[in-house]
Symmetry: C2
Subunit: 475 residues, 2 copies
């Protein structure tokens, strides 16, 4: 088994010296500054301790909740959202404990649009605000709470006025916003805006929204609300919450910010109901491409991996192999032409710089897709110097053997060392030990074909416009 991983078990540990700071300006498609976009000034409402508690595997005891809250605070999130104190008595006690920690992040709790819940939340000392939510789509009005829009509006006004009278921040959000009637939505947002709600929220509760729908709805909302008067138009607080059922939660968050949203809900590893929401790490990956300086100045990116491990362990899951940034292969390069360019300049095949996250890149060379630049780089790491022709011959041997069976790093290093010994010291050792008779026969056949092809090519094409040895794919 080839086990390339973040610990360098099977790869060339490449240079981290890429001048990544130059990348955005080199990108002709970099986000264009415009008066709508908040890509360079977004805030995070971190909901691992609310939405994340709705993940199937979650059971956070008090101690775990406190650890997670402290880690998120240290990372630099702006708000931490907690499960409603009305959910259970322990939920209420945990709210109190986290509010008493004295964190830099503001503490919110997420409650139904209901006076009972609002009263219970407002009684918690140290709480900064309430995120209030009610279903506005016909689906939820019919099958969940059964209330009509008039009732929703009256209740919202009562609850918002109450929370404000208690001196706390209040966010009003519709639920299932993207399947709600647009006129209903705009009407209620206009109404809650008039009475001075601090933020309005839209939520793609079922994960149905597509990026351009999100852009359109958020932009439309701008014309209707003016909460926090005195701020510039594009900074009107609009909080967005995206579920990931159709794989768009990170993209939707980005498009919402482009359209003027200000706050994005996240959870660590995206955990939440069903497949969860915009993941904190995924959002960091997306946003650092949008505005590297802002993201690096505001968040301790090198702590991301630890926070993810903390939460993964608490909910007993593995970090997905393809997790943004911290997946085990996020910075592993394999195809020959990728490896060649990465060794020249990492920004050719990387839009993210692993060192921004305290991580390293790896160039994978133990496969049939490898190229001679990757093998040369590995030889140099091993202190084995040869001519370019010899590196290419050595690469052909690695590729031939990788065709026969899966190579480990040790296998490949052995092939390289033995090839070097044969070439430089006139030895005649076998390149790899323990080949079966069948494997030996396959190898002989393969080498015969290669020799034949090389001779044919030399005849057909005396001008070498490239090196077939390096013809692995890669886009």
């Amino acid at each position: 088994m080839v086990t390339t991983n973040g610990n360098g078990a099977n790869g060339v540990n490449g240079t981290n010296g890429a001048s990544a700071a130059e990348r955005p300006s080199q990108n002709p498609y970099a986000t264009v500054d415009n008066f709508l976009s908040n890509v360079g000034r977004f805030k995070i409402i971190e909901s691992t301790l609310r939405e994340g508690e709705q993940f199937a595997n979650s059971f956070f005891d008090t101690e775990t909740k406190i650890k997670i809250a402290q880690a998120l605070d240290d990372f630099g999130v702006d708000y931490i959202e907690l499960t409603s104190p009305a959910a259970s008595e322990q939920s209420r006690l945990d709210c109190e404990k986290i509010c008493a920690l004295g964190l830099k992040a503001k503490i919110l709790t997420h409650v139904r649009c209901h006076m009972d819940d609002a009263r219970m939340a407002c009684a918690i000392p140290g709480l900064s605000g309430l995120d209030i939510v009610i279903g506005t789509s016909s689906h939820l009005r019919e099958h969940s709470h059964g209330k009509d829009m008039d009732h929703i509006r009256r209740t919202a006004v009562e609850v918002i006025n109450y929370v404000k009278s208690q001196g706390l921040e209040v966010r009003f959000s519709s639920e299932d916003s993207f399947r709600s009637n647009l006129v209903d939505l705009l009407t209620i947002y206009h109404e809650v805006d008039k009475i001075g709600v601090n933020r309005v929220g839209i939520a793609d509760t079922v994960g149905c929204a597509s990026p351009r729908q999100v852009y359109d709805l958020v932009r439309t909302l701008r014309g209707v609300v003016s909460c926090d008067i005195g701020k510039t138009y594009s900074l009107q607080p609009k909080q967005c919450h995206f579920h990931d059922d159709t794989g768009c939660a990170t993209a939707n968050a980005f498009c919402a910010l482009e359209a003027g949203a200000t706050h994005i809900d996240t959870s660590v590893l995206g955990i939440g109901e069903r497949n969860g929401i915009t993941p904190l790490g995924g959002l960091m990956a997306r946003m650092i491409v949008g505005d590297r300086d802002y993201v690096k100045s505001k968040y301790k990116l090198e702590k991301l991996k630890d926070i993810e491990n903390l939460v993964a362990s608490a909910v007993e899951i593995n970090v997905p192999f393809n997790n943004p940034i911290t997946g085990f292969c996020a910075f592993t390069h394999k195809a020959g032409i990728h490896a060649k360019a990465i060794l020249n300049n990492p920004s050719t095949y990387e839009i993210l710089n692993p060192s921004d996250f305290g991580l390293s890149r790896y160039v994978h060379f133990a496969s049939r897709l490898t190229g001679w630049n990757a093998i040369k780089s590995r030889c140099e790491q091993l202190g084995l110097h040869m001519s370019d022709i010899e590196y290419k011959q050595c690469t052909a041997k690695v590729k031939a053997l990788a065709d026969i069976r899966k190579l480990t790093l040790d296998d490949t290093d052995a092939i390289i060392r033995n090839f070097h010994k044969n070439v430089t010291a006139g030895a005649d050792v076998p390149l790899v030990e323990g080949l079966t008779q069948g494997e030996k026969r396959l190898l002989e056949e393969e080498e015969a074909v290669l020799d034949q092809a090389a001779n044919k090519k030399a005849k057909l094409d005396s001008v070498a416009a490239g090196l077939p040895i390096d013809a692995a794919n890669g886009v």
Copy 2:
């Protein structure tokens, strides 16, 4: 440990009878038909056996390649893309074998824009076409192949003419399209279009593109190319390839189709270089929301899980916990208000219907976020009937115990059975066995608080506008 999973280990197996066919028409934000969009007529170029071979863990032997190709063909993909025969001798032999299988899907191979590679590919009997690629960004021109745009254009024309002369389809793609100079891009696409290329491709090789950039570039491209003259304007073949480094690969594919792209590259579980590309399953999740009839008529969705398991096993990874559609919790509902609505009508909190994929939904009830509707549903499954007041009292007990310690399904069923026995048969059995002294004390404290709160509430608010017991979160 609470182990809710797709096998029903810890949940109420809900009804699958939702009239899902009605959902799109109920959605006021459903994709608007427009003459640009190909959301309802896209094709898949499945690249698990090319891009997927560039995944760090991949080593596909011939037998595995054949199994994967057959499974993809059965699923209904339009094209299967294979590693270049120039990568290694075994790669060439495998191309030949897969072309000889007689699959319905057309077989492509993905080669550098180079005559040597094109000749080698065109010599393979039964191959339908070549996907040709060359780096056009300044990054790749400088650090990878070192060729200027004039050279690229000349080579592209030579290779395309050669492939066409051999009677095969040819796709020309730039690499790193979103960091390429727009004038360079349009110039070369215009040139290859004139000589009759079958498809043009754009590739977000580094995963930097955002959805609205994708929409804009694909739409711009429409004005420049007219390949396959005779087709309607919006059906001009444009193949798109998106890497997932910043979590946008699925969203970008959708936006490309909205802008008039026709073909999307996918791989099973998204495996590929680094964090891979648009996953086949993720694309299915996104597209079924866009055009359910088309997707269901064209692809055998109920085979998705098997294909993913086949590939996951071949590359020795776990299917991510949050994988689109097939993640273990993709259809698990936990919060009380979600569970209540799902039990009434699944489309309230589901945009995807699990039965479309041969899967089931689960309502998780063994947690402090549960609500009385979920508990009532479970009681009915267990054949234990009580009054609504009693279901609510039973729910309060479950929530109180779930505050004290993590509950398994068996724990929760025991609580329900014992509660029912006490209520209906006048028994006085403890609700759950094996509580420690500390846990018993915590439970007594919690129940005292609950009683106090219930009394206080009864005094304050004689009109019950809702049930605090059901106050779990959920957006």
